[in-house]
């Protein structure tokens, strides 16, 4: 009897036929574009025509389960299928790595069988690669070609597509080479698999590479082989890799009773489609309803003016967005003379220059640009290139534009390709701004990626959703989750139409409930203006109106609002002659781009230098003024920099008396608060204190293989690298206490540490084989209880035979150093406050946790703030000036209590505002953020939150901060 295996994955269907002699007669690999059943049937029909006959059949694959169940065909779990095939075909394999559409798996065959599968938040899969190719605007094959020509790689987060985008977008905008980016993407996938999935277990011996991406993408294969240091004999890429699981499934069906191929086809044809889909509301009941809808929205279109016959003044607005470039030229009475909208293909500058040249040509030199303004991601670059008059932050541009359409506007929502921006307007000024966080990003490009995955252009795809009978309910969260929700819907037989409508509505829900976090739609206000390219999609617009139950204004130029707003701004702020590049200047315009590493400080930022033909330079990618060749702002106004130096001074390096040994302290989490205690303690006892290397991405990679939970916060994940660095330095032991309780600062119900800070040493020890009881000492301490602490330390350090009296004295020294440190930080804060007040400077309290002091964690946001001419304080430097507060939640963590009091302090000062830093994955901050916001808002202050992770992109942060400053200014003017 012949064997038949069918592997139904998230994006492809694979089939394999094995004959009676064990020969592979047939194999195939086709994309199913969500039509699982039809694709499988088509494959089976091919097999029927080719061979006919009877088969023992099994289905496998992540999307195959439902099909198997409903058609009553044997199912085998895909890893098991892989196992069977490995044993049969490659029995000497030690490790198998399989990348599929949405799964990444490692199977350790020898030395203790074990399988690892990507977590629900892990990228690094085929879908991730597809998404990145879309972003680069190339096909996956082209991306592969490109990657082979790479000269260097950039660090890119691969944990999740959304993060990677945030890393890649700025690179593109800065003009990094596509080939280098392509190679970086593959390297990211490798890093994710090797360190994220293997988690400490070494991948060695004979490695088998399976799955479509690893078969088809040479660049990816190269990256794996290179990273794992494999030679040809140990890196096996079987020819049948794409359909390997199908072969496994076929082999699995040995001994099953066979059935005729016709019967199998019939079984599948007759299988019911699933009934587990939850469906939402239809978008339109009929075409008449749609026509009315279209008519209503037409009413807000702007008027046009023929540019060819126009010879008056005009104003230029440019919105250089993350994925698209928008230009608009208006007359003084706000008619559109000309506009342009184009995907920027990673070359925004070329597009702007070329389009302006066209514009000059079009008007036969009659064009009188009186003023111009640039906004968006590429603002700085474009502004300096074409010498525009103004650069404005995009939120301000959007607000200006929305005001034009409805002077009473109180809520604006803009969904673009990459981001969602919402602002509430109060008293004619932007009152609060909400941008999508790195995780809840389900925006325009997201629909586009899906459309492509289903083999459709975006317009066609969304059109299909308009009359969908049963829109699928897909939930509202990050793309990765959405992928599997779609997968489930497909499994259950949802149509492309239903999925399209479902996606539109999920984008809207994501925006309303996750980005804006509205508890009810009434919070959105009465006069809503929606804009951004994504709203040009009628399905999305309709979903929004249905969800909010309100008619909203969507200007006909919804996709150009940034450019329109910039043009309006230019018109309103005109002063003197415009500096905008003339036709001649544009004709001779040239530029060269090159990337290099800034040597200004230890950060070694990757900077991109663009040299213009006329000798001017534009530098991007820098995190501080040094990189741009400017004089750095004095540290005098930045408590972060002060603390960074002052904290390290707590290690005095003076040991009197007998030297007892070398102790290593990890500069991370709790140590950012307690270093003074332990440095004082150990130095007094005669230990040399060695600190771990300063944090960096490299250090993170060094320890990444011991990270047990990839959704923990970045500070926690970084410690793994710190531990490695200390072990490499040859310390006698690493000291890292476990502390359920923090020091009691008497302003909260309890004084816990968060679970991660409290117990992370346990995780480190359990997952790093280099650590043992003698080189890693982690006593359980409550520093509020002195006597017990002395006893515990005595026994923890029993190898050194310390006396209780000594320990007590040493602790005293430690606490004195902590007091000294706190005292100095607080008086420095007083100084900064006083100076700022007298000089009329705005102060920002950059509030987070003590370990947010680490510049790898805060990504230099403090420097960004000082470069915007702001003073920077930290929560721990001023919280004592705030009152004790009674909040709505259980106030039981020491560091949180500081946040609440800091917020209270800020609300009492006119020139002080607060920006809260939140680590991605910090579960406790889900509680604090809402409380801090409510304290500030009750006092009429703005609340700004910045989520930080391993991503290193300050672009978004800058927009947020500048918008906040614009709002503060606006409020001050009133």
């Amino acid at each position: 009897m012949k064997l038949l295996g069918i592997d139904v994955g998230s994006t492809t269907v694979k089939a394999a036929v094995i004959d009676e002699n064990g020969n592979l007669n047939y194999s195939s690999y086709v994309r199913h574009f969500a039509n699982v059943k039809q694709t499988v049937l088509a494959e089976l029909n091919t097999i029927k025509q080719k061979f006919g006959g009877e088969y023992c059949v099994s289905i496998t694959g992540s999307a195959g389960l439902g099909l198997a169940q409903r058609s009553d065909i044997n199912f085998v779990q895909e890893v098991q299928a892989a196992f069977i095939a490995i044993r049969k075909l490659h029995s000497d394999t030690d490790v198998a790595i399989e990348l599929g559409g949405e799964d990444a798996k490692i199977i350790f065959v020898t030395g203790g069988t074990e399988q690892r599968m990507n977590g629900s938040c892990a990228g690094g899969t085929g879908a991730f690669i597809d998404q990145m190719a879309t972003l680069l605007n190339v096909s996956v094959e082209e991306m592969d070609e490109l990657s082979l020509k790479a000269e260097k790689t950039y660090p890119i987060a691969s944990r999740c597509g959304v993060f990677a985008k945030s890393d890649i977008q700025p690179l593109l905008n800065q003009g990094a080479k596509k080939s280098d980016i392509a190679a970086s993407i593959f390297q990211a996938v490798v890093d994710q698999t090797v360190s994220g999935l293997a988690q400490g277990r070494k991948i060695c011996g004979k490695v088998l590479f399976l799955g479509g991406p690893l078969h088809f993408l040479k660049g990816l294969r190269q990256a794996f082989v290179k990273t794992l240091k494999l030679d040809d004999a140990h890196a096996v890429f079987p020819d049948n890799a794409p359909c390997f699981m199908a072969i496994g499934a076929a082999l699995h069906s040995v001994g099953e009773s066979g059935s005729k191929i016709e019967d199998i086809i019939e079984k599948i044809t007759n299988s019911a489609s699933g009934n587990e889909i939850v469906t939402g509301r239809r978008l339109f009941e009929n075409t008449r309803q749609y026509a009315e809808f279209v008519k209503r929205h037409r009413a807000t279109d702007l008027q046009f003016c023929d540019i060819a016959n126009y010879d008056g003044d005009c104003f230029l607005g440019i919105d250089s967005g993350s994925t698209t470039t928008k230009l608009m030229l208006i007359t003084p009475d706000c008619k559109i003379l000309w506009s342009h909208y184009q995907s920027n293909n990673g070359q925004p500058l070329d597009i702007v220059v070329e389009k302006l040249k066209e514009l000059y040509a079009l008007t036969d030199n009659k064009l009188k640009i009186r003023a111009s303004a640039v906004t968006g991601y590429g603002e700085d670059l474009i502004k300096s290139a074409i010498k525009a008059d103004f650069g404005i932050v995009e939120t301000v541009a959007h607000f200006k534009a929305a005001l034009h359409f409805n002077p009473k506007v109180d809520f604006i929502i803009d969904i673009g390709g990459q981001d969602i921006k919402c602002f509430k307007i109060k008293n004619g000024a932007i009152d609060s701004i909400m941008l999508n966080e790195a995780c809840s990003s389900g925006c325009g490009s997201f629909i586009q990626t899906f459309a492509r995955a289903m083999g459709l252009e975006i317009d066609k795809f969304s059109e299909k959703g308009l009359y969908a009978a049963n829109p699928v309910e897909l939930g509202s969260r990050c793309t990765v989750f959405m992928n599997s929700a779609v997968k489930q819907a497909q499994k259950d037989g949802a149509t492309v139409e239903d999925i399209s409508a479902g996606l539109s509505s999920s984008i809207v829900k994501n925006a309303i409930y996750k980005v804006i976090r509205a508890t009810s739609v009434d919070e959105l206000g009465e006069n809503i203006v929606v804009q951004g390219g994504t709203f040009l999609n009628d399905a999305v617009l309709r979903s929004f109106e249905l969800e909010t139950g309100k008619n909203v204004i969507r200007p006909g130029i919804a996709g150009l609002m940034g450019a329109f707003g910039a043009a309006l701004y230019a018109k309103e702020n005109i002063c003197g002659e415009s500096t905008t590049a003339t036709r001649d200047e544009l004709e001779s315009f040239t530029y060269k781009s090159r990337s290099t590493n800034c040597r200004g400080c230890m950060s070694n930022c990757n900077v991109n230098i663009i040299s213009f033909g006329d000798g001017r330079k534009y530098i991007s990618g820098n995190k501080c003024e040094k990189g741009a060749g400017l004089k750095p702002v004095s540290d005098d106004y930045d408590i972060y920099r002060y603390k960074q130096t002052r904290l390290l001074q707590c290690v005095e390096g003076i040991i009197t008396g007998k030297k007892r040994g070398k102790v290593g302290l990890c500069m991370q989490l709790g140590m950012y608060e307690q270093l003074p205690i332990w440095a004082g303690f150990f130095e007094t006892l005669g230990f040399e204190v060695v600190l771990s290397d300063s944090s960096s991405r490299e250090l993170y990679f060094k320890g990444q293989h011991t990270v047990a939970s990839d959704t923990a916060c970045y500070p926690a994940k970084l410690i793994h690298g710190h531990v490695e660095s200390l072990l490499d330095r040859g310390v006698d032991f690493i000291f890292m206490p476990c502390e359920s309780y923090n020091l009691d600062e008497h302003c909260s119900t309890n004084h816990y540490n968060c679970p991660v800070v409290a117990y992370y040493p346990e995780l480190l020890k359990a997952n790093n084989e280099r650590l043992n009881n003698s080189n890693f000492i982690m006593p359980y301490l409550d520093l509020n209880m002195l006597d017990k602490t002395v006893k515990t330390l005595k026994s923890a350090l029993s190898a050194y035979k310390l006396k209780s009296g000594e320990i007590k004295r040493a602790l005293k020294v430690g606490f004195a150093r902590l007091d000294g440190y706190h005292g100095d930080v607080k008086s420095k804060a007083d100084e900064i406050l006083w100076k700022s007040e007298t000089e009329g400077k705005q102060v920002i309290v950059l509030a987070g946790r003590p370990y947010h002091l680490d510049s790898e964690i805060n990504h230099g946001i403090n420097k960004l703030l000082t470069s915007l001419n702001l003073s920077v304080l930290s929560e721990d430097s001023i919280f004592e000036k705030g009152d004790n507060v009674k909040v709505n939640v259980l106030n039981q963590w020491t560091y949180h209590a500081r946040l609440y009091r800091a917020a209270d302090f800020v609300s009492k000062r006119k020139n002080v505002n607060l920006v809260q830093l939140v680590s991605f994955g910090c579960g406790l901050d889900a509680i604090t953020t809402d409380e801090v916001r409510s304290i500030l808002e009750k006092n009429g202050k703005l609340y700004t939150q910045i989520k930080i992770d391993e991503i290193n992109n300050l672009g978004v942060v800058k927009i947020r901060l500048r918008s906040m400053l614009a709002a503060i200014d606006e409020a001050a003017k009133k």
Binding site: S62, L65, G66, V79, Q80, F83, G112, T113, M117, S120, V278, S440, S476, F481, M482, S484, A485, Q488, K514, T519, S520, A708, S709, T711, C738, S740, N750, Y752, C754, P755, V756, A758, Y759, E762, L763, A766, Y780, D782, K788, T792, D883, N884, V885, K886, V887, N888, L890, Q892, W893, D904, G921, G923, L924, D925, A926, I927, D930, E931, I935, K938
Partner: protein
């Protein structure tokens, strides 16, 4: 020092509401709340354990709590709001009940989060706290010694019923027999609460065992799969997408450790705080006495299981503590802390090496006590086969079940 009050005024629970209000309880611990619901009714409280479990529950949760808040909180809030919106309840005379442990993880904050969530639409509905840590004094549920003991007994009986049922259901000769036994056992227990004799735990437990051993069972070999993890997703079908049912359908026997272990874990943590940090000696002493009594009861129950011989006995908590010591320090006490690796080790030692470690996505204590200990456990127990599954509003059942199936495939490989 000044204190500025930023808290909103919420309706509080007071004793007089006992006669006027209906109390809604989330479906956290289906096995135990089934009995506790009846106990409270007998005490004169009008309580109802919510059973709503449609997608709307999750959607309401998503709308009303912060994105990053853990899944159990989202489920609880969702169930409440969905219920309040259903029109089934007189909103002027309805209260919500929630437990608080006062521990260092977010779970103690469910109560304020529920308040915040319902405040906009249902400002008149009070939330009442059940805790033993002196939290929320102004709006907490009055529990005297007698009621406390009744709860304790209810937990013990709930455990026994769950324990026997899970060992009966996969093997029942006639469909529905195990469920009939479950109903009979619950009725029997409730009857004892009604007519006295509820504290005769040995007698009652013997009867529970008897009821289930009367069910005819096939002698089949099925894969035993332990379920450990965060307390809500471990027990609640709403939280874990009907994990027990799924395992049954996969021809497995689910092994769900007893809730009493969690109670003892909480008690031991207070004793540990004295041992590790020198916290309140007197409290620790009292808790030590309570521990001795309860653990003594547990040991008697184990003896009964052993004597009867039909079912594997529940874990001995002292054994769990010894298991914990092999893997992690008992100082890890936030959330379910050291109890999770302890249960995973104990399961491995009692012939259940295949384990689903269930946790809400991004659960902080679980980074350390769950995922963080798997490596150690695997070196200790060669066959230990653990799959960590995250539960989350958008994590799909397909993805979760696929992972569990992967674990089951390995389980079968290991046989």
């Amino acid at each position: 020092m000044n204190e500025r009050n930023y808290s909103t005024v919420y309706p509080k629970w007071d004793k007089s509401m006992k006669s006027t209000h209906k109390i809604l309880v989330p479906d956290m611990l289906p096995w135990h709340f089934e009995i506790i619901e009846q106990v409270l009714k007998l005490e004169g409280y009008d309580v109802e354990v919510l059973k709503n479990n449609t997608r709307t529950v999750i959607d309401e949760g998503l709308k009303h709590v912060h994105n990053d808040t853990c899944y159990p909180c989202l489920c609880v809030v969702g169930q409440y709001i969905d219920a309040l919106k259903s029109g089934k309840y007189d909103l002027e005379h309805t209260a919500l009940m929630i437990t608080q442990t006062g521990g260092g993880c977010r779970a103690s904050n469910y109560m304020p989060l529920i308040r915040k969530a319902i405040n906009a639409e249902f400002p008149q509905v009070p939330v009442v706290s059940v805790n033993f840590s002196g939290l929320e004094k102004e709006s907490s549920f009055e529990i005297g010694v007698k009621l406390f003991l009744k709860f304790a007994y209810a937990i013990i009986y709930g455990d026994s019923i769950m324990w026997c049922y899970n060992q009966t259901k996969p093997y029942e000769k006639t469909d529905g027999q195990a469920d009939a036994a479950r109903e009979a056992a619950v009725n029997f227990v409730v009857e004892k609460f009604k007519n006295g004799g509820y504290n005769k735990y040995k007698k009652i437990n013997r009867e529970i065992i008897k009821i289930f051993s009367n069910v005819e069972r096939d002698k089949l070999e099925k894969t035993k799969v332990g379920i450990v993890g965060e307390i809500y997703v471990k027990y609640s079908a709403l939280g874990n997408n009907e994990l027990e049912k799924f395992l049954l359908s996969e021809n497995c026997e689910p092994v769900v450790p007893a809730l009493l272990d969690f109670v003892l874990y909480c008690i031991v943590n207070v004793i540990n705080d004295y041992r590790l940090y020198g916290h309140n000696k007197f409290t620790a002493f009292i808790y030590g006495l309570v521990y001795k009594i309860v653990h003594g009861m547990q040991k008697n129950i184990i003896k009964q299981f052993e004597k009867d011989g039909n079912f594997a006995p529940v874990h001995d908590f002292e054994h769990l503590r010894k298991c914990a010591d092999k893997v992690i320090n008992q100082g890890v006490k936030m959330g379910e802390g050291w109890l999770i690796p302890a249960e995973m080790a104990a399961l491995a030692e009692t012939g259940v090496p295949n384990i689903v470690c269930a946790q809400p996505f991004g659960c902080l204590p679980n980074h350390i006590a769950g995922k963080g200990t798997i490596r150690t456990l695997k070196t200790l127990y060669k066959n230990e086969n653990i799959v960590a599954v995250d539960y989350d509003p958008s994590a799909t059942r397909v993805n979760q079940e696929n992972r569990i199936k992967l674990m089951l495939a390995t389980a079968r490989e290991n046989k």
